[in-house]
């Protein structure tokens, strides 16, 4: 078990023949992901490293049974790509691009809800169910199968923590990037719901940051969870009104402060650690 993707996931890569798409398709295949097709507006009908390239996701679904898509097209075309994947019947759509207009993201998330699909991202590094499948751009070697469900807003910070978990002998059921944008398809809440139901997951790690109130919302659900949760929150040194890289990481009008998040999570029984290197030891302690 794992959440959202596993060995039965059949991936189509939208924008497979571009620089990024091409490189990461190779990495995903190397990891063992079942990449069944790619799309390209110009190279349809060809093969790309042994994977058939189609003009549309629909063809990839009809001819190759694709059921999940990962999107590598430029931000301006990302909405069209996401709608295409959802309309074609993909139930998981991973949106790698950053700088997607927020109102496009709102519409993508609404459309996914309307058609019963899950969108991960945008501006995410993707997700990985170690040993089963990877849809994303994360390094392959830092993950290992195991009992920890990891959900983060941010990429590299999440790799840091995943690597530390793995080093400590704590593998992951699924590690998922929520994405650094203000509006994303899967928020902490959605992901924790799924981890709670997943028999393989024994503990959860939440890597949050300033901005928004997804952490506070998650705290409400965590109160009802049976599994322990460890959280690290980035951005205590960030001044208000400044965007810390992510479009979503900004303290605006007094909202989205670290303090409010920490309080909410602690009230829900979460072990909130101060520094990233404290995550793995805390999980170890909780899992006994």
């Amino acid at each position: 078990m794992a959440i959202i993707i596993d060995q039965d996931t059949r991936v189509v890569v939208q924008g497979m023949t571009g620089n990024q798409g091409s490189f990461h398709t190779g990495q995903m295949v190397k990891y063992g992901t079942n990449v069944v097709a790619g799309t390209s507006p110009t190279k349809a009908g060809q093969d790309h490293e042994g994977i058939p390239v189609f003009a549309s996701v629909r063809e990839a679904v009809l001819e190759r049974g694709a059921n999940a898509s990962i999107v590598f097209v430029p931000a301006a075309f990302a909405k069209d790509a996401a709608f295409e994947a959802i309309d074609a019947g993909c139930k998981v759509v991973v949106m790698i691009p950053e700088h997607i207009p927020v109102q496009d993201s709102i519409l993508i998330v609404e459309y996914a809800r309307f058609r019963g699909a899950k969108v991960v991202g945008p501006n995410t590094y993707g997700l990985i169910s170690p040993g089963k499948a990877k849809m994303g751009i994360m390094p392959n070697h830092i993950y290992a199968p195991g009992p920890v469900g990891l959900v983060a807003r941010s990429g590299t910070l999440s790799y840091e923590i995943a690597a530390a978990l793995t080093d400590a002998g704590l593998g992951q059921s699924t590690a998922i990037g929520m994405g650094g944008d203000p509006v994303v398809g899967q928020v902490f809440n959605d992901v924790l719901h799924q981890f709670e139901k997943d028999p393989e997951t024994k503990a959860c790690v939440l890597v949050g940051e300033i901005g928004g109130s997804a952490e506070e919302e998650a705290a409400e659900f965590i109160k009802t969870m049976s599994k322990p949760v460890v959280a690290y929150l980035a951005g205590r040194a960030a001044p208000p009104g400044k965007r810390m890289g992510h479009a979503g990481a900004i303290i605006e009008r007094g909202r989205g402060t670290l303090e409010s998040k920490r309080k909410a999570l602690e009230a829900a029984g979460v072990t909130v650690v101060e520094m990233p290197w404290e995550v793995a030891p805390a999980v170890k302690k909780l899992l006994g």
């Binding site: 709102i106 609404e110 390094p139 790799y159 690597a163 951005g235 040194a237 001044p239 810390m244 990481a249």
Partner: protein, 370 residues
């Protein structure tokens, strides 16, 4: 991107929302001329900072001569770090009531959020929750008439004023949608002689959507250094400490600042060198850090897509050209770690494996250990 008041009001007007008559001016003469048409008027500095009024950026004029006088006071003045280059001359209106209306993105609901209050004229944060009406819109389906009417009614409005506000709410939502706004706000929305008018307006456009709005003039916001690093294509924020920082990934960069602070240090900046930046931009970014003349530089890299050897080469390049005349601490793990560490060692730079040790060392070298 935040729009100047005059641009924001121009957009509202284009969508049919009533605004006072106004003219943009660049000289006291232009202001005097404007006052021949629009009188009495407010002369308002066009800068992107709050609290213009209290800082002397808004003055009133009863005739062209007074207009010329106040304009020469405002134009060229320094308002919270920004030089005033333009003023907006706007007809003064009698205010009977002040409301607040806005549309923004609710990131939790992942929907547009309409906020409204009959208690306008002050920052919405200062309004008691019970006086604020909050309603979401299903974006694909749009804002329907009932919602606008509901909101006006929940604001406690009645009769013709309620009708006008409902119409304005629908148009405001139209502005939000068609202009790709992150925030469109009218505060105060005033009743003047029975007519409802937008007395002040804010319109922030989603930077990511600017490619759809090429007609908008570019309004740059940030310090000189921030704008310079933005040109390289990296995310950079100037802070008031003395340890310059580079990390890869926004969350990692934030965590790096947190770690420095944790050990008693003061970061001088936020800099996300990107998830997979190559040698050249990394070197450029390092160059910027050196130019800041910090007490120390801390580079914190977890190599995933980013390759440690690329980072090491960038550091060496800067060292051998510009020079690095301050203590440098490098933490380097991940992809091609060994090559990277070796490249640095040859140049006499020690690389750390543990983020905690490295952060502590950087603080120590900056002479700030608590």
């Amino acid at each position: 991107m935040k729009l100047y008041e005059y641009l924001a009001k121009g957009r509202l007007k284009a969508h049919g929302i009533p605004v006072p008559p106004g003219v943009l001016c660049r000289t006291p003469d232009e202001v005097a001329k404007a006052l021949e048409e629009i009188c009495p008027a407010a002369v308002k500095a066009q800068v992107l900072v709050g609290g213009r009024g209290r800082a002397g950026g808004i003055k009133f004029a009863q005739d062209p001569e007074e207009g010329r006088k106040v304009a020469s006071e405002i134009l060229g003045m320094n308002l919270k770090g920004y030089t005033v280059e333009q003023v907006y001359v706007e007809g003064k209106i009698d205010v009977e009531r002040e409301f607040y209306v806005s549309v923004t993105v609710d990131r939790n609901a992942r929907k547009p959020l309409v906020m409204a209050s009959s208690h306008g004229g002050v920052e919405i944060e200062d309004v008691e929750d019970k006086y604020i009406v909050r309603r979401h819109v299903d974006e694909a389906f749009g804002m329907q008439g009932y919602l606008a009417r509901d909101i006006a009614a929940e604001m406690g409005l009645e009769g013709d004023v309620a009708k006008q506000v409902a119409v304005i709410l629908q148009k405001l939502y139209e502005v939000f949608r068609t202009e790709d706004a992150e925030l469109v706000e009218i505060n105060p929305l005033v009743v003047s002689g029975g007519k409802v008018i937008a007395a002040d307006a804010r319109l922030n456009i989603d930077d990511a959507a600017l490619f759809r709005h090429k007609d908008l003039p570019s309004v740059a916001e940030g310090t000189e250094l921030e704008l310079k690093v933005k040109e390289i294509g990296l995310a950079f924020v100037q802070l008031d400490g003395d340890i310059a920082v580079m990390a890869n990934g926004a969350g990692m960069a934030m965590a790096t600042l947190d770690a420095l602070q944790h050990f008693g240090g003061k970061p001088a900046n936020f800099l996300d060198a990107g998830g997979g930046a190559s040698v050249e931009p990394t070197a450029q970014a390092m160059g910027v850090l050196v130019s800041m003349q910090p007490k120390a530089i801390f580079v914190n890299i977890f190599g995933g897509i980013t390759r440690c050897d690329d980072v090491a080469n960038a550091i060496v390049q800067v060292k051998n050209t510009q020079g690095i005349p301050v203590p440098l601490v490098v933490r380097l793990v991940g992809t091609n770690e060994q090559q990277g560490v070796e490249i640095l060692r040859r140049e006499g730079i020690e690389a750390f494996r543990e983020m905690s040790e490295a952060a502590r060392k950087a603080v120590e070298l900056a002479g700030e250990v608590r």
